[in-house]
Subunit: 579 residues, 2 copies
C-alpha cells in the first residue's frame, strides 16, 4: 500500500474484531472506527485491562448499534499497538521492532487500509461507518474518499481539521515523551526500558482535555484524597491529582509511546479541506452518503463550531445531513459514556437509514420498541401546512425552518418528491424526524441561517415562527437569500378580535389562539398583514402570492391582499421572491 | 514570620521595584502583585531577558496606573526566583540552596510578607492593590486579611479558589518537572544541571491555557513553519508547535523549576471560602474596600463565572463592588496585553476612587483627558427618573437595574445619601459610572438578578426596561425578592394613540416615543397599565403607590390608578412590595 507520505507499507497486518453476522446481501456491515487510544476491542473485554470494550454500551444485541441486525467490524488502526502494523511490531525487513523507522501515517492511510480489509471480507458497501473523535475523522475520510462504499456516516465529536490548539496539546504530549531519556529516540523497544514517565505526563495532559471543567468540578471539586487537611507538600493532596496520576500510570501499561507519537501526528495532519483545494464542501461534492453529525455542548476539544463547519460544508455540497448537539457536561469523553441522548440519536438515525436501505426491521425489544411506537403513520397534515405545501412545486429542494416534528417535511418528501431538509431547535422534534428518515439539523433560526449558502434551495419555509424571531427582518433576508422562493406563514395580529382587545380591554395583544399572558408570550415581534407587506416592500421583496385564511376556513388567494384581509384574516401565507 | 503551614521563615528577603513617588500623606501607594511566572520588574526592562516589564503598558507616567500620581510597589513573591526568599536562594542555616527544604508557602504567606514590607516602608494603607491571575488572588487575600489597609482592590482574571481543572493542569506541569531525571528530587541546584526539558514541557502545557482557541487560530491556524508542505515527521511542521517549543525553551532560561513547583502549589491551595467557614462572603464581611473585579470573555483558565462568584460574595457581604467583563479573544493572557477596554476600566475606576480618597487630580494628558471631558457635571435628572427618586427614602440601600450612564444612581448617592449600586449591560454605561465613583456591575437583568441575595436592598429599581425583558414575570419576582421595595416604571401601551394605531392603521403597536419598526423593537413584551396591575395581582404583589404621567406632564398619584389612566397615561411608576 502506498502511503500519503509516498512510502510503501506492505504486506501489513490489520487486527480487527467483529460482532453480529453479515447478511447474505452483505448490506448490513457497520464499520466502527476507534479514537486515539482506542483499539479493536469495542464491544468485548479488553485482553490487557480486562475491562469491558470501549463502546460496549453502544454495540450489542438490542443496543443502538444492534448486533442482531448489523454486522459490526472494528479494526485497530495502522500505527496502533494492538496487533495492527505499527512502530511496536517487527519490521520484516530488519527482524527488529520498527520504532521510528515505521513510516508516518495519516488518517487517509488508516482508511485505505480498512478499505483493503473490506475487500478481503468481500464487502462492497458499508451500511454505515461510525466513530468518535479520531474515529469521526475516519468516518469523514471514508465518506469523502469512498462515497460509493458508504450508505451512511456518523462522525461524532470530531472536526474536518485538527485545530491549532489541538495540535498544541498533542505537541506537549510528544515533547513529554521525547523528553524522557528512556525514550532513546524511539529505540527503547527490546531494551526492556520504556519512556513511561513521559508517556504518563502526555496522557495526563491529554486526559484533562477529554473532560470539562464542570465534569471535573462535579467529580472532584477541591476534595482531598484520603486526608483531612492539605499536607503542605507535593503529594497528591487533591483527588483530581490522584485521579490524573492513576490515568497516567495505567495508560502506560496498555499503550506504546511510539504509537502515541504516530497517531497524534496523523490527527494533526488531518485537514480534509486542504486536501480538496481549501474548500471543505469539495470533499463531499454531490455525495450520496447520508450523514449524521453529532457534537456535545461541553466538548472543548472538538467544540460544536467544528461540527457546524462540517454540517455547513455538507449542506453546501447538497449532501443529506442531519446534526444533533447533545447537552451534557461530560466534555469530549461523552461519546464514550452512557449518554442516552446519543444512544437514541444514533439508534433513530440508523432505523431511518435501515428502512431506506431496505434492511429488515430488528425484532422489537427494549428501547427500540418504544421508538417504533412513537412513529406516526403517514397521514394528512394540518390545513395551514397544506396551504404551504400547495405552494411548493414537486421534485424541488426545500428547507423547512422550524421543522418541528417533521410533519410538513415528511409530506413534501413522500407526497411531492421534494428533497426536503429541516432546521429545528427542539431535540425531540429532531429525534422524531431522524427516526422517520428525514434530514434535520438541530439549530436556531435566529443564528444558524447564516450557515446556508445563497440559492441553496428552491424553497425556504418559515411557518408561524417569524413573530418569535429576535430579528424578523434579518431572518427574512436569509430566507430570500437561501431560497429562490420563500414561503412565510403567520397569525395576523391585525385581526379584529385582537384590535378590539386592546381598544376596549386595554390589554396588550397576545396570540388569539393560545393561552399566553403578555409577560410570557414567545411572540416577541407580532405583526399584522399590513405590517408584513410593509416590511416586504421596505426590503424590496416581491410577493408572488398571498393566501389568507379567514373565519370558518374561508381561503382567499391573491398577489395583493385587500386591506379588509387585515381585519378578517386569522392567518396568512406568503410566497416571496427576492426582486 | 510564621507560615500557614506552621513552619517559621525568617529573616527573609523580599525583592521589589518601585515607580513614582510616595506623597507626604503616604496615601497614594499602589501595590502591584505579579502572576505565577511574573516578578518585580513590572514596568522596567527585565534584567535577564532585556524585555520591557510585564505591565509596562499599564504602569508609567500618564498610563492607567499613573506613576505621576501614584507610588507603585511591585514585590517578587516569596517562593519566587528573582531575589525574594525561595527554593533557589541560600538557606542561611545550611549555607546551601534551599531546594525542597524551603517550606511550602501559600497566597496568604505571600501577602503577609508584603504587609511586612509596607510596615518597613511606613505605609499604613494602600490606595489600591492590583493584580491579575495569581496577582488577583493576592489582591483578594489583601482585601480579606487587611481590609483596613486597602482602600481599593482590583482583582483581574482570577478566582477565589483554584478550580479542579486548574489544579489538574498544575499537577501535569509538576509531574513533567519531577519526571525529568535532572530534577534530582529538587537537588539539582549547584550541580550545574537543571530539569530544563521537564520545565519546558510544563511551560508549554501551561502556555496553551493562557491563550484561547480563537487566539491560537488567529495567530497560527494550521500554518506551516518555514516549509511549504508537511514533512511526515516529528519536527515542528506547524507554527504553533514551533511557537510552543520556543515558549518552553526561553522560559527555562529565566525561571527556576523548584520555584515553579512552590508557586503552582500556593495557587492550588488558594481557597478563600474554605478559610472562612465555607462561605466566601464571610471573607469580606462588612468590608470597607472598594472592589473592581475584571474578567475576560475568552479566559477559560479563570472564566467569568469565577469572577461572578467573587462579585456575588462581595454583594452579599454588602461590599462596594464593580464588575466588568471585557470582550476579547485573547484568553487569560489578555490581562498582560494591550487591551484598551482594560486600560480605560482601570483608569476610570482609579479616577473615581482617587476623588473619594481625596488624592489630587493628575494633570490632564492623553487618554485620561478625554475621559475627564466626558464627565457630566452633576445636574438635574429627567422627569421620569425624578419621579422614581422621589419614591426612595434617603440613606437607604438601592439597586438600579439597568442603571445606564448612572445618572439616577449619582443623584440618589449625592442628593439623598443613598448607598446605591447599579447593574448595567452596556460597557460604556458601566465605564461612565465607574469614572463617577459609582459601584456598577456589568450584567444582564435577564440572567444576573439570580445572583443577588433575598432582601439585599431596601429598593430595587427597574426603569423603562420591563417590556424588553425576555421573562418579565421572573424579573419582577427577583425585584421584590431582592428589595424590600421595588420601583418599576414603563411606558403605557394602553395609551389611546397606541390603541388607535392598531384599530385604524392595522399596525402592531410600537413604542410611541421611539422610531422602532415592529420587526426591530427591543420592547418584546410591551404592557399596558391594566396588564401590569393584572400581573402584580397574579403574583400577589402589593402596589403601595402608583404615579401616572399624562399629557403635558400631568402627574396623578394614587395607590390604585383609575381605568381612565390606562387610556391617557403615557408612563407609569409603581412602588411595589411583596405581600
Amino acid at each position: 500500500m502506498r502511503l500519503d507520505s509516498g512510502a510503501m507499507l506492505g504486506p501489513f497486518t490489520l487486527a480487527y474484531q467483529t460482532y453480529g453476522a453479515l447478511n447474505a446481501a452483505k448490506s448490513n456491515a457497520v464499520l466502527v472506527c476507534h479514537a486515539l487510544t482506542g483499539d479493536q476491542y469495542a464491544a468485548d473485554d479488553h485482553p490487557l485491562t480486562g475491562r469491558p470494550g470501549w463502546w460496549s454500551t453502544l454495540i450489542g444485541p438490542g443496543k443502538p448499534i444492534d448486533t442482531e441486525r448489523y454486522f459490526v467490524i472494528c479494526p485497530n488502526v495502522i500505527g496502533g499497538c494492538m496487533g495492527s502494523s505499527g512502530p511496536r511490531e517487527i519490521n520484516p525487513e530488519t527482524g527488529r521492532a520498527w520504532g521510528l523507522d515505521f513510516p508516518v501515517i495519516t488518517i487517509g492511510d488508516m482508511v485505505r487500509a480498512q478499505a483493503l480489509l473490506l475487500d478481503a471480507l468481500g464487502i462492497g458497501q458499508l451500511f454505515a461507518v461510525v466513530g468518535g473523535s479520531m474515529g469521526g475523522m475516519q468516518a469523514l475520510e471514508w465518506a469523502s474518499s469512498y462515497p460509493e462504499r458508504v450508505f451512511a456516516a456518523i462522525p461524532i465529536a470530531t472536526a474536518a481539521r485538527h485545530s491549532s490548539q489541538n495540535i498544541a496539546f498533542h505537541e506537549v504530549g510528544r515533547q513529554a515523551i521525547m523528553a524522557d531519556p528512556e525514550w532513546d529516540s524511539g529505540g527503547y523497544l527490546g531494551s526492556g526500558r520504556s519512556p513511561s514517565r513521559g508517556l504518563a505526563v502526555a496522557r495526563m495532559a491529554a486526559h484533562i482535555t477529554y473532560l470539562s471543567e464542570a465534569a471535573l468540578h462535579r467529580k472532584f471539586g477541591r476534595n482531598l484524597q484520603d486526608r483531612l487537611a492539605i499536607t503542605y507538600g507535593f503529594d497528591a493532596d487533591f483527588q483530581v491529582e490522584s485521579y490524573l496520576r492513576h490515568q497516567g500510570s495505567t495508560f502506560v501499561d496498555r499503550f506504546d509511546a511510539n504509537s502515541y507519537l504516530y497517531i497524534t501526528r496523523a490527527m494533526d495532519y488531518f485537514d480534509l479541506a486542504a486536501e480538496h483545494g481549501g474548500q471543505l464542501s469539495n470533499a463531499f461534492d454531490a455525495s450520496p452518503v447520508k450523514f449524521l453529525v453529532v457534537s456535545f455542548t461541553s466538548d472543548w476539544l472538538f467544540p460544536t463550531p467544528e461540527a457546524r463547519a462540517i454540517v455547513r460544508a455538507l449542506t453546501n455540497a447538497s449532501a443529506s445531513v442531519s446534526f444533533v448537539e447533545i447537552e451534557t457536561d461530560k466534555g469530549h469523553d461523552a461519546f464514550l459514556l452512557e449518554e442516552p441522548e446519543l444512544f437514541r440519536t444514533i439508534s433513530g438515525f440508523l432505523d431511518g437509514c435501515a428502512e431506506q436501505r431496505g434492511l429488515p426491521q430488528s425484532r422489537p425489544s427494549g428501547a427500540a420498541q418504544i421508538d417504533r411506537k412513537a412513529q406516526r403513520p403517514r397521514r394528512g397534515i394540518r390545513t395551514d401546512l397544506k396551504l404551504i405545501a400547495d405552494m411548493i412545486q414537486p421534485s424541488t429542494r426545500a428547507l423547512d425552518v422550524g421543522s418541528g416534528d417533521g410533519a410538513l417535511l415528511e409530506y413534501l418528501v413522500h407526497e411531492k418528491g421534494v428533497d426536503g431538509r429541516g432546521l429545528e431547535l427542539d431535540p425531540d422534534g429532531v429525534h422524531l424526524s431522524l427516526a422517520h428518515g428525514l434530514a434535520v439539523i438541530q439549530g436556531d433560526a435566529n443564528t444558524d441561517l447564516a450557515n446556508y449558502a445563497d440559492g441553496a434551495f428552491d424553497y425556504v419555509i418559515l411557518s408561524k415562527t417569524l413573530q418569535a424571531m429576535r430579528d424578523p427582518r434579518t431572518v427574512l433576508e436569509h430566507l430570500v437569500r437561501i431560497g429562490s422562493h420563500a414561503v412565510v406563514s403567520f397569525e395576523n395580529y391585525g385581526h379584529w378580535r385582537t384590535r378590539l382587545g386592546l381598544l376596549l380591554g386595554g390589554r396588550a395583544p397576545v396570540d388569539p389562539d393560545r393561552p399566553y399572558s403578555w409577560w410570557e408570550s414567545p411572540n416577541i415581534h407580532p405583526c399584522t398583514i399590513t405590517d408584513f407587506i410593509g416590511l416586504a416592500r421596505a426590503m424590496n421583496i416581491e410577493i408572488e402570492e398571498a393566501v389568507v385564511l379567514g373565519p370558518a376556513g374561508r381561503i382567499v388567494r391573491s398577489a395583493r391582499p385587500k386591506p379588509s384581509a387585515n381585519l378578517f384574516a386569522e392567518q396568512a401565507v406568503f410566497l416571496l421572491r427576492r426582486r
